[in-house]
Amino acid sequence: MKWGRAVVHLVMWTAAVACVSPLLSLIVLAFSAQWPFPHLLPSLFTADHLAELLLSPRLVEAVTTSLALALLTTVATLLLVFPAAKAAGLYSFRGREALKLLALMPVMMPAATVTMGLHYFMIRVGLAGTMLGVVIVHTVFAVPYAFRILMYVFEIMGEQQEEQAAMLGAGPLMVFSAVTLPLVMPGMVAAATMSFIISFSQYITTFIIGGGRLLTVPLLLVPHVQGGELHVASVYSLVFIFTALAALVLLRAVVRHYYRETYFLNP
């Protein structure tokens, strides 16, 4: 049907526009110093205030802290998830389903609620207000995504490659570094990406556990949203997006430098 195709194409274009326009509007916002109602376009387009905002020590502190927390969360998540995902992906054992349920549960548990409970504990043991405390909470919520990805990757890989390596005389260390790691690397990258983004985007968890001592980009952003200062909020939003993207691009570049693109799906 001719109009059927037209409808479908209209839907595609609408979807594309709807996805992209918020980003564009953010960019417009960021460059507008004055934009009173009822003007459709900002009355003042400038980049002056940008320099001041971007170079402020608070923003630098927020970006550094966010990056550090995200990096630590990613490392912690991968260390915890890798062996567990390998177990769930390669072996069949009693408790496998229970493991999967446990690992995927944080997806369904609200961050705020879990964090409030942990807050009491962390105050007790002196973890409140520390980076370690925040990293722990971030890790809890990054784990299910990383687990799901890595478990899938291990299932696809199967144990055959590792068995083959062992038969050819490789010891456990060589099997890991020469076979297992390269083959699951795409999954590791995906899991690391998810963990990074999740930690980077955290607000209420950092706020409650950090107790005001740790400043991250989302924490810097929220008061300006509450205060209606959209031009500042938009600049910070763009910083947020840009920093996250830059970190991820860097991650992929580093990985690609050391590992050839792998084809772990059996051809």
Partner: protein
């Protein structure tokens, strides 16, 4: 040679970590409670309003995003090359954090927002106050819009990937047997998509139910969602408020746990595990 204990050893660190964090979290929430506090919370009119509001917002968001997302996925399938493009573009909303989306929704839909300005230009309104309250409103429209911006693409992406995995031969066979495109979609692909949709529905509902940042920033003064209510009580030094916060958190946790159990029992993730002799466990 495989030691039978190997998988348990491998999984131990993660299991320990998660059990400790959730256990401690829940433990501390429960420890400060007595039954009296609990019932006091439940009997409170504000609580009931919050509960109903939270569940309603979550339900509506889930319904719209799953129906819309699935429909979009089908459209993407039909659009072939265009659909692939959209699949890439959809990653943008999924990556954008909720806070940033909140900024944009505020920017567009507030009474001094872009749409309001357009309305003024077109002569529909004389001033910002005449533009309908879409943000901070008691119908939670602003909140819903943020959820939808993120969730429709998420559901669409998952469904699209799933549909792509289903052989297009089914559609060919359906057509061959005389079915219309609508029938092929609803009678062949939609039932095959049901497990995927069940999973996305549970995930979107759980998220909308437990979300904090968005209702915190865009909520109406008239009522608060449960997580926001719990938080406001949590930062109140009054021990009574603390106890009420714990009670609400326990209830939230119980509902979420229920959702998690429903998820694990109904959603059968297809196992790809295959041993090297070709046997499945």
């Amino acid at each position: 040679m495989k030691a039978a204990s190997k998988p348990y050893l491998l999984a131990a660190p993660l299991v320990l970590f998660l059990t400790l964090t959730f256990g401690l979290s829940l433990g501390y929430e429960i420890s400060g409670l007595t039954l009296r506090h609990f019932l006091a919370v439940l009997w409170n009119r504000d609580f009931v309003v919050s509960l109903v509001a939270t569940l309603s917002v979550a339900a509506v968001a889930t319904l719209v995003s799953n129906v819309g997302g699935a429909a979009l996925a089908f459209a993407m399938l039909k659009a072939r090359a265009g659909g692939e493009w959209v699949r890439h573009i959809l990653q943008l909303p999924v990556i954008m954090p909720h806070l940033v989306v909140t900024v944009v929704v505020f920017h567009i839909f507030a009474q001094t927002g872009v749409l309001a300005r357009l309305a003024w230009w077109l002569g529909f309104i004389d001033g910002p106050n005449q533009f309908p309250l879409l943000v901070f409103d008691h119908l939670a429209i602003g909140i819903m819009l943020v959820y939808l911006y993120k969730q429709i693409p998420f559901v669409a992406m998952v469904c699209f990937d799933s549909l792509r995995g289903i052989s297009h031969r089914f559609g060919d066979v359906g057509e061959n047997l005389g079915a219309t495109p609508w029938q092929v979609a609803t009678r062949i692909y939609l039932p095959l998509l049901k497990p995927t949709l069940m999973a996305t529905a549970l995930i979107t509902f759980a998220f909308a139910f437990g979300a904090f940042e968005v209702p915190f920033l865009l909520g109406t003064p008239l009522w608060r969602t449960l997580p926001v209510e719990a938080y406001l009580l949590h930062i109140n030094i009054d021990p009574d408020a603390q106890a009420r916060s714990m009670a609400i958190n326990v209830i939230i946790a119980a509902i979420s746990l229920g959702l998690a159990l429903v998820y694990s029992s109904t959603v059968r993730e297809v196992s790809h595990v295959r041993h090297s002799d070709g046997e499945r466990p």
